[in-house]
Amino acid sequence: MDFDKELDARGLSCPLPILKTKIALNGMTSGQVLKVVSTDAGSVKDMEAFANQTGNPLLSSGQENKEFVFHIRKK
């Protein structure tokens, strides 16, 4: 999937992947896609909740090896 910006949240624990995602989205324009890579298993559910709460659509959520990859579009 295409993306405009990538956030490396590997090795970070709750709530840092969400906080860094929020900060990264702040610096983007509406419609742009952010790719987030994390190693925190808890971030799978949390990213979904974050997207629902903030209205930034979560385009994909998947696992590659031991990493979790998300694509989120800035609303």
Binding site: G11, L12, S13, C14, P15, L16, I18, L19, T21, K22, I23, D40, F50, Q53, T54
Partner: protein
Amino acid sequence: MDTHVETTTGIAAGEALDRAISERIDALLERRLEAKLAEIEAARTPSMTIIATKGTLDWAYPPFILASTGAALGWDVSVFFTFYGLELLKKDLSKLKVSPLGNPAMPMKMPMGPAWFKSIQWNIPNAVQSIIPAYEHFATKMMKKTIRNQGVAPIADLRAMCLEAGVKLIACQMTVDLFGYRHNQFIPEVKDFVGAASFLPIAKDADVSLFI
């Protein structure tokens, strides 16, 4: 006689019409009200207030984690620091400590070495803990190492993120007086030094209110 019948029919028709109009209005109103309420709910910013009362390294985490996450979700967040919670507003957070003594649920594990070693639960009796010199200092060092190893943010970083995200940090003036603190010991970002009477009205309107 005829006139009387006509009048009765007229009244009955009028009543039926009134009923129909009233039912129609009720139905319309209900639908409009639902749409309006959904609109208001969608436009409203959720809010959260937290009361932070503990000043140890372990208890410093919950208020800052919840506050920063709430702010990331777009919520309006205020944290009221009272009693030992005021320690969390000091300029220098490196003095925060954790004590395993009298903290029976705290797991005592080593942050270094092979997995089998790290998984050992060290049950050290309180009586022993209390006589080992600098035991608290040692436990604090171990916990800080564990925090770093796990990729958990240091408290100072979480607090900075809270501030960056617009979390309002409020201090209890009564505690400042009680324990003889000075305002210049605290970070300048502290929004206000107030009492319970100023904080409670904010909490009253909050969707989520937590005591930590």
